[in-house]
């Protein structure tokens, strides 16, 4: 819990230096909280096959009579429970430490956007997991690479809808489900808006999930077969 709080504090102090309104500190706290789930998707789900490969247990998963999606779903649920506890702690600690404004008038809408965001993120994570089936350090470094750039593009610590953000950046950010999730949660939890303001976010997140889940299934199957053909499925120290 301490590491996210340290990061959040830095950005909140930066907003304080430029005398931004207090709700911007709230934006940072929501972003930092959701970052915990993104980190979980990357390292505890996508990269899970990398760990299994390196420790020599991937073979056991491969011979088990279950689908790869089921394995990843199980890992996702386990990771989700742990991450939720951590994320809630970060959220509450952030609010208490920095005394930032929170205004949730429609908790059901907030929860709906949150779960839709989680669904889309974990579907994306399943797709990334296919890369780890075949690649070693390349996939590892790619996952590493998906931290700061995703934080920048998804507007983890600022609203991407600001006039200051160039159109190209906004366009790229709309390709990431996290952007819609963060924007929706901020509108509902900080700005006190309701479902009428966030229905485009709900629609976008639903579409992301519906597209990403079948894609993840295809990608896992394709990479597994490719890995078997090239004999790289259980190759360690790549």
């Amino acid at each position: 819990m301490i590491i996210p709080i340290i990061t959040l504090s830095t950005y909140i102090f930066l907003y304080k230096m430029v005398r931004a309104p207090p709700e911007y500190a709230s934006f940072v706290i929501v972003g930092g909280t959701m970052m915990a789930f993104w980190a979980n998707v990357l390292w505890n789900m996508s990269a899970q096959f990398y760990w299994e490969k390196e420790t020599g247990t991937l073979e056991a998963y491969m011979v088990a009579p279950i689908s790869r999606m089921a394995i990843l779903l199980g890992m996702a649920l386990g990771g989700f429970v742990n991450t939720t506890i951590r994320a809630v702690a970060v959220f509450i600690a952030g609010i208490l430490i920095f005394q930032v404004p929170i205004a949730i008038y429609e908790p059901v809408t907030a929860l709906l956007i949150f779960f839709l965001t989680i669904g889309a993120l974990y579907a994306l994570g399943m797709m990334f997991a296919s890369l780890f089936l075949l690649y070693g350090r390349e996939a590892w470094h790619t996952a590493n690479l998906l931290q700061e750039p995703i934080q920048f593009l998804s507007g983890t610590y600022y609203p991407t809808s600001s006039q200051v953000v160039p159109f190209m950046v906004q366009l790229l950010s709309s390709l990431i489900p996290l952007t819609f999730g963060l924007d929706g949660i901020r509108k509902v939890a900080i700005l006190g808006q309701g479902i009428t303001a966030v229905w485009p976010n709900i629609l976008a997140l639903t579409i992301f999930t519906l597209i990403l889940l079948p894609l993840a299934r295809q990608a896992l199957s394709f990479m597994e077969n490719l890995g078997k053909r090239e004999g790289r499925l259980t190759l360690r120290w790549q």
Binding site: T7, Y11, F13, L14, R19, Y24, E138, V164, W237, Q238
Partner: protein
């Protein structure tokens, strides 16, 4: 130990570090990798600054320059910390070569210095690319004036500050190496804690005066604070009493950090040898 042996050890370690870090990709992919993360990091703080300034109605280019230089040069801290924190874990648990390096004629400490120098090389490349792209994006793309006279940089002061800073960060790295050799699987957490604390309290992207009093006291005790203050002075031509004082603080904190780092590492190695931790196996 003979100087020739030390130099050979350092040279081989730099070469090995370069190979380990680069041989997973072709040079262009590797360059992009080393460019994307620091530039994205700069873009995050740059956009926080811009959006925050936009809503408050005041865009202070001096504050932006403060942030721009601080965030760019913090790459040295991150790279050195990351390299020195990960290498014990990688060499001992992942590749299982630490015991061979320990038994080789060269010293393990000089090998670590060599690997850290490789981190310095990578950081220098990242720094140059980040500065160039940062100026291109913020000054020419978004119209933020960055009041740096690139032809008037005090290279002597900058070179001296970099040298002192790098030695100091290596001292911190030896503390982390010592902790890693006595523990297992804390390498990722350790890097994030240390770099996160230094980023928060080191006056990297915001003025330390914004921090509460206790935070300012922590900031005043950290060598990173003086490192970045002196780097900014060399860029912005502030050759006055404060620069000399900051340089003096940097030297004092560097000596303290290096002595502490070597002491921690020596004690850790003694315990590791006694407890059989040098060839300890982990999950691999």
């Amino acid at each position: 130990m003979a100087v020739g042996t030390i130099l050979r050890t350092v040279k081989q370690a730099v070469w090995l570090g370069w190979k380990v870090e680069t041989n997973w990709a072709d040079p262009i992919v590797f360059a992009i990798y080393y460019l994307v993360r620091p530039v994205a990091g700069l873009l995050i703080v740059g956009f926080i600054f811009l959006i925050g300034s936009f809503v408050s109605g005041i865009i202070d280019s001096n504050l932006f320059t403060f942030l721009f230089i601080g965030n760019s040069f913090f790459i040295y801290v991150i790279q050195i910390m990351m390299t020195m924190t990960m290498l014990i874990h990688e060499d001992r648990a992942h590749y299982e070569v630490l015991k061979h390096i320990y038994l080789a004629p060269g010293s393990l400490s000089w090998y670590i210095v060599g690997r850290a120098l490789n981190g310095v090389m990578n950081a220098s490349v990242s720094l140059l690319l980040t500065l160039g792209l940062g100026i291109a994006i913020f000054q020419y793309g978004l119209g933020i004036q960055v009041p740096i006279n690139w032809l008037g940089i005090d290279w002597g002061l900058l070179g001296l500050t970099l040298l002192l800073g790098i030695v100091c960060f290596m001292g911190m790295g030896f503390i982390l190496c010592g902790i890693n050799i006595m523990t297992s699987k804390v390498q990722f957490m350790l890097t994030e804690y240390v770099s996160g604390i230094l980023y928060l309290f080191g006056g990297v992207v915001f003025l330390p005066e914004i921090l509460p009093t206790w935070g300012q006291q922590i900031s005043n005790a950290l060598p990173v604070t003086y490192f970045l203050k002196t780097v900014r002075s060399s860029f912005l031509h502030q050759a006055n009493f404060d620069v000399q004082l900051n340089l003096l603080y940097l030297v004092v904190t560097m000596i303290g950090t290096v002595l502490l780092g070597l002491a921690v590492f020596k004690v850790a190695m003694f315990k590791a040898r006694r407890d059989g931790l040098i060839d300890k196996k982990e999950e691999y």
